[in-house]
Amino acid sequence: MGSVASFFIKKSTLTGNIFSVLKSNYLYIGCGLYFLSALLNIYLLKVLPYTVVLPLTSITYIWSFIIAYIYLKEKITYRKIVGISFIILGALVLSLVQGVA
């Protein structure tokens, strides 16, 4: 369940990024995707606890990092890698809550 949730959140937050990345040229696509991510978010909240779903939206940052690197050619710094590692660790721990609860 936790992994399915993560997958959906990944999908939903991915669209959130596209919104911010492409808003100048693709505003309407962005808004549509943002709305779609909201719907996925609502579905997730139905099946999983609020205190797990909201913090897991931080997986957005991982996708931002990847998108920024591939499409925007932003450089990867140690700082960013440390930050991403902490977020992944935290998301894993939060997913474990599902297994424990």
């Binding site: 700082r79 991403i84 590692s85 894993l92």
Partner: protein, 115 residues
């Protein structure tokens, strides 16, 4: 210490806006949670809060440095604990708190400057 005060003076409008944005996002998701996925007043109120949160966030970036404002979005992870426990009545355990702490550390690392 002086640096912190200066940074606050320069960014205080953005900091206030982003705090409000985090709060709106947290409440928006709370109302969605309460709607249980059904079309209801809760669902609509959730959308209103979520929308205001998004707008406040965009505006906040105009009133402060990105490296200061962006990490502050993780304030919502603190709000979520209080709202989750005291309003919704969810039970949280040590895993929840540790997970949230790790995520917050990560967000601060990423957002806290590019130098």
């Amino acid at each position: 210490m002086e640096n912190i005060i200066n940074s606050f003076k320069q960014n205080y409008k953005g900091i206030i806006l982003i705090t409000l944005a985090s709060l709106c996002t947290s409440f928006g998701q709370m109302f969605w949670k309460l709607s249980e996925g059904e079309i209801s007043l809760h669902l609509i109120v959730g959308f209103v809060f979520y929308g205001i949160g998004a707008i406040l966030m965009i505006v906040a970036f105009r009133f402060g440095a990105f490296s200061v404002i962006h990490p502050m979005l993780c304030l919502s992870y603190i709000f979520v604990i209080f709202i989750g426990v005291f309003i919704i009545g969810e039970t949280i355990n040590a895993f929840t708190v540790v997970g949230i702490l790790f995520i917050m550390i990560g967000v601060v690392f990423i957002g806290g400057g590019d130098d």
